[in-house]
């Protein structure tokens, strides 16, 4: 007598897939957090000619965020470096220190578009006095919330 073929249930082993997916998830979560730490939420100005520059080409960066304090009911501007609010004089001091560490340091100015120019000008003067030659303005190529 011929026996009917035995059907064996196929089980997909999901464990390796879970491993890979979890790694990707952690990667995206950590990178998102790192970007947030360096770049405070700023309503960047719009410039159609702003190019997406390779971060490697920029070299060592020193990011100065300048927030319009009027947007939060305050007065003047707030200077933030690595998500920490510091006084303008301290920003200038930090610029001097960064210049001493790396003469080719690139100062990236990220400022709110509604900010009076004098506050950005103060950082530029600080860069010039510290001897920092590379200054980069952050901008968005289209409106959409900014950085």
């Amino acid at each position: 007598m011929k026996l009917p073929p035995r059907t064996t249930p196929i089980r997909v082993n999901l464990a390796p897939m879970v491993d890979v997916t979890m790694c990707l998830l952690v990667f995206f979560m950590v990178t998102t957090k790192m970007v947030e730490m360096e770049n405070s939420v700023i309503d960047l100005p719009i410039a159609r000619s702003a190019k997406d520059v390779d971060k490697q080409k920029l070299g060592k960066r020193f990011v100065v965020n300048v927030r319009d304090a009027r947007l939060e009911g305050g007065e003047g501007a707030r200077y933030l470096v690595q998500d920490k609010e510091i006084h303008l004089l301290e920003v200038i001091e930090r610029l001097h220190r960064e210049r001493q560490v790396d003469p080719l340091v690139n100062c990236v100015i990220r400022a709110d578009r509604s900010l009076p120019y004098e506050h950005v000008q103060a950082v530029m003067v600080g860069c010039a006095r510290a001897g920092i030659q590379k200054v980069t303005f952050s901008a968005v190529s289209r409106d959409g919330g900014g950085g």
Partner: protein, 154 residues
């Protein structure tokens, strides 16, 4: 008689499928979230070595074209004056056309453009003026910072 002790090892297999569903949804959220963010562009500039340490930022320059941005009252933007010619208020496209005309007339694209702005002018206007210069084809743009201090960018 009922069987005592641990059940055979192969009888308990955790069901990973719901976990995979949730993790995949979170992963797709982060991936889409990072790609939907408006990418941040850069306007790279360089200060001349003359403005280095010890030399302060006092640089004497002879610009090819001067652009002056004067603040209008009550935050209505700014008045654009280019080489003593008054353009329409906030008309940066006209500024770009004017500069393109200058290039067509034989101006040097490496020639210096000096942008001077009132301290109360909104930062967006200064960037728009710089943007107009870059779009027109000029690459050597300078900013007059105040009456006795000039930062030059190119």
């Amino acid at each position: 008689m009922p069987q005592r002790g641990f059940s055979p090892a192969n009888s308990y297999v955790p069901n990973l499928a719901p976990m995979v569903d949730v993790v995949m949804v979170i992963l797709i959220f982060f991936m889409l979230g990072s790609s939907l963010v408006v990418s941040e562009g850069m306007l790279p500039t360089e200060l001349p070595s003359r403005a280095g340490p010890g030399g302060g930022a006092k640089v004497t320059i002879v610009p090819t074209i001067r652009i002056r941005l004067e603040a209008l009252p009550e935050g209505q933007g700014c008045r654009i004056i280019v080489e003593d010619l008054l353009l329409s208020d906030n008309a940066y496209d006209s500024l770009a056309s004017f500069l393109r005309g200058k290039l067509d007339a034989g101006a040097d694209p490496d020639g210096r453009i000096l942008i001077g702005a009132d301290p109360s002018v909104e930062y967006q206007n200064v960037i728009s003026a710089m943007d107009a210069c870059v779009r027109a084809g000029f690459s050597n743009i300078q900013f007059s910072v105040n009456t006795d201090t000039i930062a030059v960018v190119e």
